[in-house]
Symmetry: C2
Subunit: 330 residues, 2 copies
């Protein structure tokens, strides 16, 4: 059995209460006693049982993190950010991968919510209504999604999209396709919304193709439709989809960027590793994770603040040398 507070108390010759105090409210105990207790605790390798503590304090010291798909490199980056910040604040992280399944999401939330102080929902796929029911039960912060009166961390998509379209139009592109991600994705809806606004303002014609799974395969699947539209440039829902497009274009002998330019979203690490490198819009990833934890801790500290905190993090177009983007051929 692990060493408990009683063991420490006995060895240090004090009561359990004093051990607690020495460790969590040091100023309330005599310096001499305090040091002795701390030394004994260290010697014995005592670490308080957080579950037992949680039973009393109502705080578990854990947070839950849900992501749709760890296989999409975007999410591991966010997770790393969450981990880093959480551990700094001495929180441990429950992780669940929902496999892009809104139903699984809800089940996992229920299961996790009992053992955590709060939940970080990253790009949740469930509906607004479903989200609402959860928000009622447990402190929740959204990453990559917004909902009225719920704290959230989101990227400045409108600005990112503006940068993307400016870049393309500066290179002479006038007809641009957008390969959409999952219909249930807020990120996708926001991209579409921003894109329409920005394209209209820039006088570019926007061609929207159907929704695809936000993975490599989605891009592969959409490539031929994109070519059929005769556009000179295509914006993909994310980098994985962009890579899928690239792959299928190459397979069909369509030169990138010679005949068609491809622009991605996310700036996953891999986008700089391929050749040609991907031109893409960098979304904050680690940073979103960290900011999400910050908001959650803040929410836990002062539960009845209003309105809900909302952080928007900047985005940045990344233009790389020898990339999949070129001026429009005349």
């Amino acid at each position: 059995m692990a060493v408990t507070i009683k063991d420490v108390a006995r060895v240090a010759g004090v009561s359990a209460s004093t051990v607690t105090r020495a460790l969590t409210m040091p100023e309330l105990v005599h310096p001499e006693t305090r040091e002795r207790v701390k030394r004994v605790a260290a010697d014995l390798g005592y670490h308080p049982n957080r579950a037992a503590r949680g039973l009393i304090t109502g705080r578990t010291g854990n947070i839950g993190l849900l992501v749709p798909d760890l296989a999409n490199p975007f999410f591991p980056s966010v997770v790393k950010g969450v981990q880093a910040r959480a551990h700094e604040a001495d929180y441990a992280v429950f992780l669940a991968d929902t496999d892009e399944d809104a139903t699984a999401e809800i089940g996992l939330v229920r299961k996790l919510s009992k053992q955590v102080d709060g939940l970080l929902l990253c790009s949740p796929r469930m509906s607004d209504d479903e989200l609402r029911t959860i928000v009622g039960d447990t402190p929740v912060v959204l990453v990559n999604r917004r909902l009225a009166r719920v704290p959230s961390v989101t990227p400045e998509l409108l600005d990112g999209m503006r940068q993307a379209i400016s870049h393309l139009t500066a290179l002479g592109h006038r007809r641009v396709a957008y390969v959409a991600g999952p219909r249930s994705s807020w990120a996708n809806r926001e991209r579409v919304r921003s894109l329409r606004t920005v394209a209209a303002a820039a006088g570019a014609e926007l061609v929207e193709t159907g929704n695809v799974t936000p993975q490599f395969e989605g891009g592969v699947a959409a490539a031929d439709q994109v070519l059929a539209t005769g556009v000179t440039a295509v914006i993909a829902y994310n980098d994985l989809v962009a890579l899928g497009l690239l792959n299928r274009f190459t397979a069909r002998g369509v030169a990138v960027p010679g005949e068609v330019s491809v622009l991605g979203f996310d700036d996953i690490p891999l986008s700089a590793m391929v050749h040609p490198a991907l031109t893409t819009v960098d979304l904050p990833k680690e940073q979103s994770g960290r900011a999400g934890v910050d908001l959650l801790l803040q929410l836990l500290a002062e539960p009845d603040r209003s309105p809900a905190a909302r952080r928007e993090l900047p985005t940045q177009l990344i233009v790389r040398a020898s990339t999949g983007i070129a001026p429009r051929r005349v």
Copy 2:
């Protein structure tokens, strides 16, 4: 406050004990009572507090998972496998990313070990001795590492290496470089060991270059040394390193696979997405995660089985069309 067992007991008109029994040992309670209790529990949305339960049963229903770096796509795949299997068995997963830091690893293990039934250490970087101290405290299963008397899941590296070398020698390569990963990595030491054995048997000359970080940057850094050795083929510690090599070779105008062939390890998803695609040795990833959980559950169920269970999972050379491997030029 959440609904507790007392609430259910009161509403159902029974004692707390009966509620427990109705829910966890249904056969011990009268069918009528059982149904009533279950209905009330469902109506009230009662879910037992796992922390409180764990206090008594000594079981938390949680497992801890440590990985060195989520940014390496190999690990998210393992994590997905762990998640999937764990949730099937109604376990929740604590995840910690150690950033390739052996010291951080130990700290995180200590912190997590109190709130989990067992630990899955994936490619741990700490020393054998450090590992030993942990194994004494908590049930541990190793993934991608071996240690005497500790259950583990590992890939059949020797066989994978044999496939790799056979492939290269069949294509005429006689001098092959190996770009090593972290010195603290068991996976790296095993690769080296297998490689020496297999290369000797195949009559190939092996040129070992220094250790690099197991990331894209590591490959970039090693590329020039590799070229200086004059080998016609190079095996990288993993796919990320292989991509780094590829990138730097290309930058220096060295044709791949024209002048030098590159072979990776892992078969991360991305290796099929790039162009040229990566020829690589597939290591079981999701499967290792699942197997690791299986072993851990088994260990928890029968703590004093011996000798330690040990599973070796098959590896497979993946040869792709238009890949970074070619016959040796004469």
